[in-house]
Amino acid sequence: MSEIKIGTMTVKAGLAEMLKGGVIMDVTDAEQAKIAEEAGACAVMALERVPSDIRADGGVARMSDPEKITEIQKAVTIPVMAKARIGHFVEAQILQSLEVDYIDESEVLTPADEANHINKWKFTVPFVCGAVNLGEALRRISEGAAMIRTKGEAGTGNVVEAVRHMRTINGEMKQLSSMDEDELFRAAKELRAPIELVQWVAKNGKLPVVNFSAGGLATPADAAMMMQLGAEGVFVGSGIFKSEDPAARGKAIVEATTHYNDPEVLARVSTGLKSAMAGLEIKEIGEENLLQHRGW
């Protein structure tokens, strides 16, 4: 039937709407994917190594082996996402042909193009992209991203950068809302973002697509804090499978994300969890090793 339209922005952004209030967990194999689904994850992110391992191992980080992705797709019924390198449109073509449900064009992997992100309009599979500020978020949306996540600093177990990026984006959106229409042209220039998107944000006071928080969340309290700061859901990477008891921690983070405004529930789910991942102080990583600076 010719009236059926596949891969529209509405259905791409619509899947992100369905993930709201949920936790997307990084997994490296089918066994972890099942634990994540059992814990109540609303989707899993398939990748070769979790960010803290990528950070420790060094070298070039790339898209996962398709075999791993297929194995994870077979193991769970929730959506399966996978990461492609920034600008690596062929990795994205491969992931689309595997029918992953979302592609994360991710700074956690080593960028493949230092000037261009993937033209995401060319794909029927939706993309999520990271951003540290409003201009970056709007540039990704102008390239066709159907979902945004604040970058934070992946693989650190330290929520401070996630907080910084969420507050930055929210603050910049508030500024836009207070401007008159003449001032928005200059704002667009300063944000290096298309005027149409800047006008939309000024009028609606939010991003035109769903915005999750990512990068450094390790505890139920971290997840709830990001939700209270305005995240519509959370990504948890190393924080779950680098902790002592991933199943229990995963479930607790899911519960904290649903009941993010309910300190009674948050106290209960934070109780008696075994050790969180070790975590890194951002200053000790060194500015040149920060993943959040990847992407432009």
Partner: protein, 214 residues
């Protein structure tokens, strides 16, 4: 928009464990009803109706069990509380899923197939003929959905959508797409495989409020 005298006083719960609950709440408020987000069992008390939104049905089902809400919602539905399930909500209300198993409310006499239209790359939009909406307008029910004339096709947004594989004799199929049932009504229970809450078209919410008003 003027509040309809019948629906203006209704309190409609929207299950807010995960998924597109905020959009349903907005649609209800545009129709003149009060929406209450429901995250804990005690918040189910005193509702006139309940919406189970789209989201991930596996996730919502598990959360309903771990928050001890499954049995409570099930007995409310069995006692006649009007319920509207969209996408994952349709799956939750079903008696059976054709593929695999997951916690279900087991209220509506339908068997559903999850992700029946395929994974996300197959997600689509399609206009739907829903005769029940036209007859609702003919019966003089005020529809606040002015931009959408009663007889116009409904904008169907299908995201990793299920379909109704089979239905018992008490179930009215409200809409079909390529031979598959994608909306249905059984007494107090309304379900759609698609997402009216993402469209701005309030006709199905109006229909549900009419059911809730009795």
């Amino acid at each position: 928009m003027a509040r309809s005298p019948k629906t203006g006083h209704l309190i409609i719960g929207v299950l807010a464990l995960q998924g597109a609950f905020r959009e349903h709440a907005t649609a209800l408020e545009k129709c003149g009803a009060a929406a209450r987000q429901v995250r804990r069992r005690r918040e189910l008390a005193g509702l006139d109706a309940l919406i189970i939104p789209g989201g991930e049905s596996t996730t919502i089902g598990k959360l309903m069990v771990s928050y001890h809400m499954l049995d409570e919602i099930k007995s409310l539905g069995a006692a006649g509380l009007p319920m509207f399930g969209t996408c994952a909500g349709l799956v939750m209300l079903a008696r059976q899923v054709a593929d695999g198993d997951q916690p279900l409310l087991n209220l509506m006499d339908i068997t559903v197939r999850r992700n029946a239209f395929g994974r996300q790359v197959k997600s689509f939009e399609a206009p739907l003929e829903i005769p029940a909406l036209a007859s609702m307008a003919a019966a003089g029910v005020n529809s606040g959905a002015a931009p959408f004339p009663a007889a116009a096709p409904f904008p169907g947004i299908f995201i990793r959508a299920p379909w109704i594989e089979s239905a018992g004799p008490g179930v009215d199929i409200l809409a079909e797409l390529e031979g598959h049932a994608v909306a249905a009504l059984q007494n107090n229970l309304l379900v759609t495989a698609f997402h009216p809450e993402l469209t701005g078209d309030l006709r199905l919410h109006e229909l549900f409020l009419r059911i809730a008003a009795g």
